[in-house]
């Protein structure tokens, strides 16, 4: 129970620090939060059995799903960066474009990329199956 309490206390100190303007408290809050996180992680890791939550996740969290999750995390960022860089290089007048439309563009590009990736994966699978049959 110590670690969740530390996390809660750290969160409370952080809120006090930000709301009262006592910036000196922030490092205390960060310290307490880190102690809670590291302590919790280490305690759970050294336990003889992993926590039930991890077991439940593990049943579903396969390698493939993990990698897809990582890609989903990385791709929007990569695409938005790409958009920004392209725009900057082409010196497009973005004054008329709102941030909403830019983000929407990134999401659409991501979806297109996902479709392309799925198509390529399927094509690869199909080729492998064909190789086996032939």
């Amino acid at each position: 129970m110590v670690c969740p309490i530390l996390l809660a206390v750290g969160f409370a100190i952080l809120l006090v620090s930000e709301s009262t303007g006592l910036a000196a408290l922030r490092i205390v809050a960060v310290g307490v939060l880190l102690a809670g996180a590291i302590g919790g992680g280490v305690r759970a890791g050294l336990a003889s059995e992993p926590p039930a939550l991890f077991n439940a996740l593990a049943a579903r969290f396969t390698h493939t799903l993990a990698r897809v999750t990582i890609l989903v995390l990385l791709l929007p960022t990569a695409l938005s960066l790409l958009l920004a860089l392209t725009g900057a290089l082409l010196r497009t007048d973005y004054a008329q474009i709102s941030a909403f439309w830019m983000m929407l563009g990134a999401v659409i590009a991501l979806m297109l990329f996902a479709v392309l990736a799925a198509a390529l994966t399927l094509a690869g699978r199909a080729l492998r199956v064909a190789e086996k049959i032939l």
Binding site: L33, L34, A37, V42, G45, I70, L74, T77
Partner: protein
């Protein structure tokens, strides 16, 4: 106006709080993953690796900051690539830490802002350069994995994923900085020399859009960084932790030492048949492997197509360990072998026969090339011998051709089924008699050196010539020496390397008792294996002697003018190449003395094989292989002989009894038109010896 940086520029207070809260999740994941690994290591047997911490820390600093084992002449590309990745990453990490200290410690607690003025400008410049360095390292790594594809390297999706992840993080950093520079019209923006051109280009975008883009990029940069921290413990990114721990807590004993099992009679288990039979440090070491494949570069089994690939063996153990460790324990990033052990499917397999095949265990020549090359100091050979010990002692399972060797060692004290009475038979060919210790002791005399002849030098006719040559040299130098004669027995090295620890200790104890009985102080050997065993392993069993290899002694005798050399028939205007025996070179760092001896021979032109010194290629005879049938189409000794012949050498020189046999055999099997002679250093020197009349060969 003083250049300075506004921390958390354009970030609202809610985001500033939320980022600290969110940070706890990846930190907890990292701590959890590392703790799972530590928990698995703690399953291992105890071993003290905490002595001499000062020296350990200094060595760690040399290996990490100076990239001691990482940048090597033959691995320049990989070494420089890692130096770029390391230098860039560490500098950027330090930069982020400095910003955090400024924002959360220095300013709020002491009202001191140091990120300003010239320091700040230099800071900006350095971080921009570090980003480029990191990107260069990433590009080199991707090029190597995708285009160069060296034979020793296998790529898993995680390898590429991590590189892309890091690249995204760096580019995000540049874009984030460019957006801030565009918004603030920073007059010192040019110091950020990578972001600055981008900032100029971005200025055409409306400030409102720039502000949103900045906030979005700031969040995504933070999330990508947090993701990387959380993923680190489950991928090869764990290596900054595990590799540094392994280098810090490496074994400090001489590399040639195999630890003797204490209290053999009462030990519950001999060797390793389960992970927990390895020491905790060995279990930690398998987690330090980052799949670089350097262990394969000079590995005789990998290079001749055998089953054993040291990297794959370590990765198999790492995968098995991860699997037994529970959820999320390295399941995402154990590299090429990850597919074999995931989500509990491999946990119930047997270690020997299931995770590591018996063929892999018996293929090893114990040459130590893998250990010499490994940049994170993984010690493969002691682990392989542990597996052999279990096979031999607990399971009575070993190649059939080894049985007569064990029998002969046990009954006769040598592996050749020769009678002990014949041990000193070679002395009959000497013009000047060679004394035996029992006679020396009976006369109340002492000797300078005990000449430990070894089984090969005593019984194998080809090697007897080397023994005679060395005895002649010692006599010519006027040294007082004696042999144990029929009291000598095998030093135990073959039995130990073949996994028969009982027999090895029995033989070693017998020799130690004999040598201690005669109060021996100095020992000279002409066999690299005898040299390594008596020098490095006997102290564990109470045998402490000053041991010198004949190549060292001969070099010393020539240098001190105790012997002088004339014209040698073997090397008149001849090229000679020297093969470094693994147990002399890699295990005991004796590289210069044999070359020094060759360099003193008149008419000798010493040429090096491409693989030499610490990066020498094994002859294939170590680890008991000299007594076993070699598996696979390519033979190790033939491969090495081809390399020697390619130098154009007329003589292949060596200084180890087993190497001699392997080379003689390899030259015999070679189809070269002009076959070189294989000679020991002692033979070359004896041939060129200007010796007193009383020791001249009859």
């Amino acid at each position: 106006m003083n250049p300075a940086r506004e921390i958390l520029f354009n970030i609202d207070p809610v985001s500033a709080v939320a980022i600290y809260i969110l940070m706890t999740l990846p930190v907890a994941l990292l701590a959890y993953g590392l703790a799972r690994r530590v928990r698995r290591w703690r399953m291992g047997a105890p071993e003290n690796r905490f002595e001499r911490m000062g020296a350990r820390l200094w060595y760690l600093l040399r290996m990490t900051v100076l990239h001691g084992r990482i940048v090597r002449q033959r691995n320049l590309y990989g070494g420089l690539m890692h130096a770029c990745l390391f230098g860039g990453f560490v500098t950027l990490l330090a930069g982020t830490t400095i910003v955090m200290i400024e924002a959360d410690v220095a300013v709020p607690l002491f009202g001191w802002s140091f990120l300003r003025g010239d320091f700040y400008l230099g800071f900006k410049f350095a971080l921009n350069a570090a980003g480029l360095l990191l990107l260069a390292g990433i590009a080199m790594a991707l090029y190597r994995r995708i285009v160069m594809k060296p034979a020793t390297q296998e790529s898993s999706p995680d390898d590429v994923l991590i590189l892309v992840w890091l690249a995204v993080l760096v580019v995000q950093g540049y874009v984030l900085q460019a957006l801030r520079l565009s918004l603030t019209h920073d007059p010192w923006a040019a110091w950020s020399f990578v972001s600055y051109p981008l900032a100029l280009a971005l200025r055409s975008i409306a400030p409102e859009v720039l502000s949103h883009m900045h906030q979005f990029t700031w969040w995504s940069h933070a999330l990508v960084a947090f993701g990387l921290i959380g993923y680190a413990a489950y991928s090869k990114l764990v290596h900054p932790f595990t590799a540094m721990a392994n280098v810090l807590l490496r074994r400090l004993k001489p590399r040639g030492v195999l630890d003797a099992i204490e209290n053999l009679d009462t030990a519950e288990v001999i060797g390793a048949s389960k992970l927990e039979h390895f020491s905790w440090a060995q279990l930690m070491s398998v987690d330090a492997c980052m799949h670089c494949g350097r262990c394969l570069e000079f590995c005789p089994t990998f290079n001749t197509g055998k089953a054993l690939r040291p990297r794959d063996l370590i990765l198999s153990l790492a995968g098995y360990q991860a699997d037994q460790g529970g959820v999320f324990s390295g399941v995402l990033g154990e590299g090429a072998n990850a597919g074999r052990f995931k989500n509990g499917r491999g946990a119930d397999r047997q270690l020997i026969g299931g995770v590591v095949s018996k063929q892999e265990i018996w293929d090893c020549t114990t040459c130590g090339a893998c250990m010499e090359q490994c940049p994170v100091h993984i010690e493969h050979v002691p682990m392989i011998v542990s597996l052999r010990r279990n096979l031999v002692t607990e399971q009575n399972s070993f190649p059939p051709e080894v049985q007569p060797i064990f029998n002969s060692l046990e009954r006769l004290g040598n592996p050749y089924q020769s009678v002990p009475m014949e041990r000193a038979a070679w002395t009959k060919k000497m013009a000047t008699p060679v004394a035996e210790m029992k006679d020396v002791a009976a006369n109340g005399e002492t000797v300078d050196y005990l000449f430990f002849v070894g089984c090969v030098g005593s019984f194998v006719s080809r090697n007897q010539k080397i023994t005679i040559a060395l005895a002649r040299i010692l006599q010519a130098a006027g040294l007082k020496f004696a042999i144990l004669g029929k009291e000598e027995s095998c030093n135990g090295d073959p039995a130990r390397r073949l996994g028969h620890e009982f027999l090895a200790q029995q033989l070693a104890m017998k020799t130690i008792e004999r040598m201690n009985h005669y109060n021996i102080k100095k020992v000279v050997t002409s066999c690299a294996h005898c040299f390594n065993a008596i020098k490095n392993e006997y102290p564990q069993l109470g045998g402490n002697y000053e041991v010198i290899h004949h190549s060292q002694l001969i070099e010393e005798l020539i240098a001190s003018k105790k012997i002088s050399l004339g014209e040698g028939a073997a090397l008149k205007n001849g090229k000679v190449t020297y093969h470094d025996p693994c147990y002399l070179g890699r295990y005991n760092q004796v590289y210069d003395e044999p070359r020094g001896v060759l360099g003193r021979l008149k008419g000798a032109e010493v040429v090096e094989m491409p693989r030499n010194r610490a990066q020498s290629f094994c002859c294939g005879g170590g680890g008991g292989q000299a007594f076993m049938k070699e598996q696979g189409a390519q033979r190790i000794n033939v491969t090495r002989v081809k390399e020697a012949i390619a130098t154009g050498a007329e003589v292949i020189a060596t200084s180890c009894a087993f190497c001699m046999g392997m080379f003689e055999d390899g030259v015999g099997a070679s189809d070269a038109a002009k076959k070189p002679r294989v000679l020991d250093l002692a033979e070359l020197v004896a041939e060129a010896l200007q010796e007193p009349a009383d020791v001249k060969r009859s």
